[in-house]
């Protein structure tokens, strides 16, 4: 039977390097995917996923085990994403053209229909950060709203409201472009 994350953490705290590697391998794809959905390019997602694990292992003694280790990683990752988006917004404010270049690598390149892709991509990119967080956690990571609330440090109701607003904005963005 596979060891739980808590058991691996205990082994890591005792100096077992194999537990460190096992924990990372177990969650690296999840955290990278989260970062990619939020930041929309490989370089930033790879960097952020790495920083998420570094923070987790640096501060593992502060982890109170009131949630799963995975949820804790999500919390750290989402906080770092929020900061990265804030920093990016500052940079974009300074150089709007840079944003246009970044658009070319967005995750919607594979969506059929260039116009629809652009509208959907723009709509998601312009969502308020909290709404985008709820959308990503619900649609791509299949979290229950209670867990989304834990990750976003808000109530389940707030998580639901953010998600509903996000979907509604996307719907309006698509409908408004039709016809």
């Amino acid at each position: 039977m596979a060891e739980s994350d808590y058991q691996l953490l205990d082994r890591y705290a005792a100096g077992d390097e194999t537990a460190f590697e096992e924990l990372i391998k177990r969650h690296q794809k999840t955290i990278y995917n989260l970062a990619y959905r939020m930041l929309e390019n490989h370089a930033d997602a790879a960097d952020l996923a790495q920083r998420t694990f570094v923070q987790a292992f640096l501060h593992h003694q502060n982890f109170k085990r009131e949630s799963s280790f995975r949820t804790w990683l999500y919390q750290i990752g989402m906080n770092l994403c929020r900061n990265a988006i804030r920093d990016r917004a500052r940079r974009v404010h300074e150089d709007v053209q840079e944003l246009e270049l970044a658009d070319s690598q967005d995750i919607f390149a594979e969506v059929a229909g260039a116009e629809l892709k652009d509208r959907l991509g723009r709509a998601i990119r312009t969502l308020p950060t909290r709404q985008k967080e709820a959308l990503v956690l619900r649609v791509y990571h299949d979290h229950a709203f209670a867990e989304i609330g834990t990750i976003m440090s808000c109530s389940e109701g707030t998580a639901k409201a953010n998600y509903h607003h996000a979907v509604d904005k996307l719907r309006r963005a698509l409908v408004s472009g039709e016809g």
């Binding site: 790879a46 570094v54 292992f57 640096l58 959907l120 979907v167 509604d168």
Partner: protein
């Protein structure tokens, strides 16, 4: 109970997410059966979710995943200040602190002795030429005072005595130059 179009639209997302009580799901379904506008609205939202969900994250490849733990390990090592080998687990810090304290005391005692002796012998001319009044005064002890000083701190008494002898020797050697 009949549902209004406004109520139906409010429940579109929870309906699609099956995040409603069964009775509410039945109400919305009944409304959609009789309202083409709300059906269109519902379908639009469903399409949005399908399209959003259909977007995949490109896999960076096996090499990236295999190297990832090592990259985290290296980044973690950069973040963590190195622990001196003498302070690793098993080595208590107090012997180091004690040794440092002893060194400090010895250093302070030596400095006190140096200042009490006046200028270094390598600068005899300056000592001889400087006006007497400007020289730092050494404590002048009467015979009785020396005993008292000796009782209080014999080490410092010796230092003061040595300093006095040195100065007299310097005066004899260089006083006429």
């Amino acid at each position: 109970m009949t549902m209004t179009c406004h109520e139906s639209k409010e429940l579109t997302v929870p309906y699609l997410e099956l995040d409603l009580e069964p009775s509410r799901i039945r109400d919305v379904t009944a409304h959609l059966d009789g309202c083409a506008g709300c059906r269109t609205e519902m379908e639009a939202v469903r399409q949005v979710l399908v399209r959003v969900k259909g977007v995949a994250v490109p896999d960076p490849g096996d090499r990236f995943w295999n190297e990832f733990p090592d990259k985290v390990r290296q980044a973690l090592a950069r973040e963590r200040p190195p622990i001196p080998s003498g302070l690793r687990k098993g080595m208590a810090g107090w012997p180091m602190a004690l040794a440092a304290s002893v060194l400090l005391l010895v250093g302070a005692w030596s400095l006190k002795g140096m200042f009490a002796q006046g200028p270094a012998p390598s600068q005899p001319r300056a000592v001889a030429q400087a006006p007497r009044a400007a020289e730092p005064e050494l404590p002048q002890f009467a015979e009785a005072d020396w005993h008292e000083f000796w009782d209080e701190d014999p080490d410092m008494a010796l230092v003061e005595m040595a300093a006095g002898l040195d100065r007299q020797a310097v005066d004899r050697l260089f006083g006429d130059i």
